[in-house]
Subunit: 160 residues, 6 copies
């Protein structure tokens, strides 16, 4: 069976990686779908985010990474995926996922499974990591090495 | 892969049945684990609940039903199950499941996946069904036929 | 139009009274339905609770008070009431009411309206008032005078 | 009695229509107040939204539809309305409504009643419908016919 | 300044110990108040719980442990304490604490401060630990050594 | 001991003032840190907000007010502060604070304490006050006099 782990992953965190790893133990194949990012304060453009998720998931044999320019349900149809996997950290996260899961099931009968976040990543969100990166603090405890490296390189470029 | 759907199922509802059906499409084998019921106002004893879940899941080929007298993690070890499947209807449900999922992962590294309840069963809980049954109202819109039949038979016996 | 304000009211608080008053401005007639109390630590039996709610609502012309021995939907049918009015103080309260509202609508198409608690009564619950009463502290800031008086009288009787 | 159902209704959904219908059974007159929309990704301007709500509520005799350029409390005073009616789907929705209800009561002593969403519309929100519309998917299961028609016409115009 | 950390502590967990330690860094003196336990499935009686908390907090110089037979506000008055310290793990926990904090402030103007639980203890609750203990599983990752020892000794006694 | 009360305070409300006052009774020194404001609909720029908080806290001897251009954890290091104090009104507020508290503890081992909002300020938020100000309604019940005065003066300037 095939599942999709969707997100904007701006940036991809160790919490996201944990969800992808756990999904890859539950399903034969996992596609990570990197979507458009509506946040005002975005860190990386879509192509860079796709590359960073790919670099971070290289060790995971059954995992592929693709950009998702449109709706998740259309991505599911195009990639022949029947199940969406999402992480949730809190009641509030779950309520957001609940509405999207029910809507996606209504649109194309796709299934959604929620994986409860591990305690150690419960406070790690992309938006907090973006703030920490902007504040010039070390983000390496929260994101894969590829993201740390890319952030440092893009700073060098910008400061040249 | 094998998964367990645990619960006290007093009584088993159409919402529970929906979760078991969805789990059976995600996993090769599903064991429904019928636990002890700590509610003061219990409706059916353990053996009857096991029988009613069995009767209700008869159509589902890959589903078996077993009593669970002890801890869920021990049931998982004894039945060689690596994944727990639970339904959740609301933020509040999810918060309860989150703590149990993290504790179970801490005890034996078992995975938990949460399936968001379908809208049509979002308000159906065993405790509300017990109240309705006690109030002598028809519970057939909320539970499998086997449960309706059993409740009627047990009333005849009691009123004899 | 006619509405019911249901509860176990053990004891009736100033927060409950506020909901009944507000309901009586929205509806032509309001019936307060005093239900059975499943709490282990109950304070007053059903008949006394009915009397205390009646004494507390005496000033409210369009309000009557009745015991409710069975299901709320049957009370609604018996009293020809089409709308249930409940107060809610927090997200958690609302989630409980949401499930009951949807179940009651499913059983008899009765409507439920939720009144958000006023800030000044947001922390006043019957269960906290019972604890305070047991701890021999003054409950008069939280309940109508009739409840204070009755509690004092019942203590005299018990200490005789 | 007169009530207002406020919202930005971008677009008006079948969930909104259900709340307006239920409000019109509870109150003698209902005014739907169409407010300014602060969402970045807005679908229709104010005048079009007013027209679409009007077209969608045509069958409801006691319902009128008006634009609301300012504060809801001022709309209430201008239209002599004493009660605000809002739908709420989840604990999170309720918490938002609770704060606004208490603030509006503080500003002008206006009452707020919350109607719990029906299960079938629990996952339908304007923001999800906007995403679906942008993704070129059929929104007709979620919105009144007038909204579907208007969206198709505005697309023809834009694609000419 | 002096603070109280109240609870039923049945049993005292490493999550509780973390809250007491953090409280002892914020306040000059900390009193741990061990209350009556209303849970049906209690593990240890009051005197044993007081002793176990004392043994577990022995290293913390500014911490004392006392039984609390009555209301928390009366304990605060008797021990001249102006601040209550509680841990909270989730939105649901906080809502419960919020109501109690506002009630206690209303009764005696005592202050309440909430410490957010550390991620590593976020899933550790006394009720889950009681279940694990009953299931004959090792509770040592979740409770101080004194509790593990006491549980083993009391089992020997019972099995003699 | 020294604590920081951080916020964007746009505008500073009587709810914020209450938290600062309560913090100043718990800690020897309190620094109010006025951060950048990411809201689209901002009311006052940073320097004006710092001045308004200063004017509002003038009576509180142990309270100072400083701008915070960067991360809160860096502000804590620069000002030698070990504890963050935040108010929280609802479960949803708490969940946001929980994540930030755990992240800040992870970055620099700073402690966070949450003060539950008093009932009377539970519905007062800066965003609702901004809406009310924009709607030309009186905000004096919700903010300190300095904020009311400043808003009136800045309107005169703009209307000249």
């Amino acid at each position: 069976m095939k599942a999709v782990v969707p997100g904007s992953f701006d940036p991809f965190t160790l919490g996201h990686l944990d969800i992808v790893e756990r999904a890859s133990r539950l399903f034969d194949q996992v596609v990570v779908a990197v979507g458009l990012n509506s946040a005002k304060d975005y860190l990386f453009p879509l192509e860079e985010r796709v590359e960073l998720v790919r670099a971070s998931c290289r060790q995971l044999a059954a995992v592929t990474v693709e950009p998702m320019p449109g709706l998740l349900v259309d991505f599911c149809l195009a990639h022949d995926v029947g199940t969406i996997v999402k992480g949730a950290r809190l009641g509030r996260d779950f309520e957001v996922e609940l509405g999207m899961a029910q809507m996606n099931a209504s649109l194309t009968a796709v299934e959604t499974v929620i994986l409860p976040t591990r305690p150690s990543w419960s406070f790690v969100s992309s938006s907090l990591v973006r703030q920490i990166a902007r504040g010039q603090r070390d983000i390496s405890p929260y994101v894969p090495a590829a993201v740390v490296d890319h952030l440092q390189r893009s700073r060098h470029v910008h400061s040249d």
